[in-house]
Symmetry: C2
Subunit: 371 residues, 2 copies
């Protein structure tokens, strides 16, 4: 299939390209594509950059998507919409776009941004759906910042309680968009993503929202370990709460502008809940604990996830590096302990033992209840 | 068994009576009794008032508790400690106590307080572990307030992610004590309840803490309905988040002193999580939705709970009365809808439909993110 709905295109229309075509990327393309058809401010066609793969039958992934309107590998059984055009050529996929939706594993973003330098239009706005962060010598770098710095564009983030397969079948859920300055741009993104079954709201706290999306995967590993240890719901709820507390405290330490209220949004408490109930980080961590740590996370990822990447383990490592570099390990027992369990330095049961004693967070305690 | 450890008793020791001997009351007695033995500031013996029942074998419940140190009806298989003395005579049970732990179904508290007037010592401190509230013409009355007003004593509350049977087997969990003025008294209660597996902390927000414990049961019914409708984890997380948001907004409307931070404590987010994962309100609501509402909550309670009471349904009714009386129903779609589903006025599926549109809470919005 080719250019759909070009007849309605006008100079003021926004053209969207989704950079990424995994599970969440495909669902995002579907959600967006139904809105670009419906709303006149958007160009109908949604480009989706596909990292090309050859399927077992010999066909190219991008060709099957364009032939069947379906990503048979990462979102089988769901029609993306005829106006989604898969494109394996990154440069070509972004050429016309002025709204770029980034949704790839976070490890690939630096390379993708490198390829995009000089290849995008001048008026481009970006949004990142990516969970994770880059750690550099000088500290953590959020993906939205990486995109802004490398491409010179403004970049929002969208995070929330978003298990892709459930949104794909239009079950009710919510999301939070974080923005830095422009409320107008944030509201354009809200419009692009909103569906009756997908409530999106915007808050002016990009770092808080993005750190929620990143750090919750580490908490999900903690919750999965509790599941694998058969500790029960009280313990799981306590670990999730302590996780949310450490997410909040670390975010505020890293970025003093981060707001408490962000953690009550979908990106905060709801995403912690959904990720700790059903996500893949939780699932693999449960298997890890049931095996008593004898199979590594890498092995279990290969066994259980069919090529999907486990963000939590690498994020835990990156968070640990940040904490170590700043001398904060003792302040964040849960986040630190997850990494040490992941690398086999501590047994899975340490997740409860090391969380039982609340740390003295005196350096950040502005009030008795800060932490 | 009789008076234990009287030899160590001195004038400065605090004597504890637990008023109530259901599932949670029995666990509370066990937790407390191990501390009164260990800590010299407390008298060893813990009295437990038992609402007398005759067991199927013809024996009295209080006699079997005193013979076997076990509440065979409400907490079978768990030793309470030899220093727990069951007493079916309320007046006798409280006569010597200066620390009263109230843990009965909330419907019974007014009657119990009536019986206690003039029967307790002058220096008594109370703590309520009861979830629920009394609704009067002039508005809601928290149980701690009812106790304070009727008995003329100071009364704290203890709430949190506390599934009794899990604490009984010493799985890690947390709780929050809410107090009004005296931090010293709150810390005495913290000492009485704390265990290595049970982390208790105190916050100066008695209304916030108590309303959490009350309102979360209504949210648990909403979550159970979502489970029974097989809506998935995204939807469940969204409903739990919206529930927590309405809990917070209603608490702040009723008591302007209520603090946001309380909802990050164990009594807030953690209790919502644990109650929505495993509590009895969730369980019965799931069954209600699976039956398409054809069996009433009363019937299902009798079928599934072996004599335990379902707090959520009566709390939902009481909350609905408060909301109706103040004209706030439209501001709290989730809390209102739960009651209307419980009484058969709306189908179970309404829980999602009516929560999808966030209400305009302009009268309480102090900032964009208040609600």
């Amino acid at each position: 299939m080719g250019e759909v709905g070009m007849a309605g295109a006008a100079a003021v229309q926004f053209r969207v390209t989704v950079v990424g075509s995994g599970n969440w990327g495909s669902v995002a393309a579907k959600v967006i594509a139904s809105n670009t058809l419906r709303l006149s401010c958007f160009h109908d066609e949604v480009r989706m950059w596909v990292f090309e793969e050859v399927l077992p039958g010999g066909e190219k992934l991008s060709d099957t998507i364009n032939k069947n309107n379906e990503n048979v590998k990462y979102l089988p059984g769901i029609k993306l919409g005829k106006n989604v055009v898969a494109d394996p050529n990154l440069e070509n996929a972004v050429r016309e776009a002025n709204m770029l939706v980034f949704v790839t594993p976070h490890q690939f973003m630096e390379g993708i941004c490198n390829s995009l330098v000089g290849k995008i239009k001048g008026d481009v706005e970006g949004i990142s759906l990516i969970k994770g962060m880059e750690v550099r010598k000088e500290g953590p770098c959020l993906i939205s910042k990486l995109i802004t710095d490398m491409l010179g564009i403004n970049c929002c983030v969208l995070m929330g309680a978003n298990i892709a397969n459930e949104i794909a079948v239009e079950k009710f859920s919510e999301a939070t968009i974080g923005y830095k300055h422009s409320k107008e741009v944030a509201e354009r993104w809200v419009k692009l993503f909103s569906q009756p079954y997908f409530l999106v709201s915007a808050v002016q706290d990009i770092e808080g929202v993005e750190l929620c999306g990143t750090l919750k995967n580490v908490v999900a590993i903690a919750a999965g370990l509790v599941d694998g240890l058969d500790m029960g719901n009280n313990t799981k709820a306590a670990i999730m709460r302590i996780g949310l507390r450490e997410m909040r405290a670390l975010s505020k330490l890293l970025f003093p502008s981060v707001r408490d209220s962000t953690f009550f949004e979908s990106c905060g408490v709801a995403d912690v809940i959904t990720t700790c109930l059903g996500g893949r980080n939780r699932r693999v961590a449960e298997a890890f604990a049931r095996n008593g740590g004898r199979k590594s996370f890498d092995e279990l990822e290969t066994e259980l996830l069919q090529g999907q990447k486990l963000q939590g383990v690498s994020t835990a490592k990156e968070v640990y590096e940040v904490l170590s570099h700043r001398g904060w390990n003792a302040l964040f027992p849960l986040l630190s302990t997850v990494h040490r369990i992941c690398i086999g330095q501590l047994p899975p049961s340490a997740i409860v033992k090391h969380s039982e004693k609340p740390p003295k967070l005196s350096i950040v305690e502005s009030s008795a209840e800060f932490y």
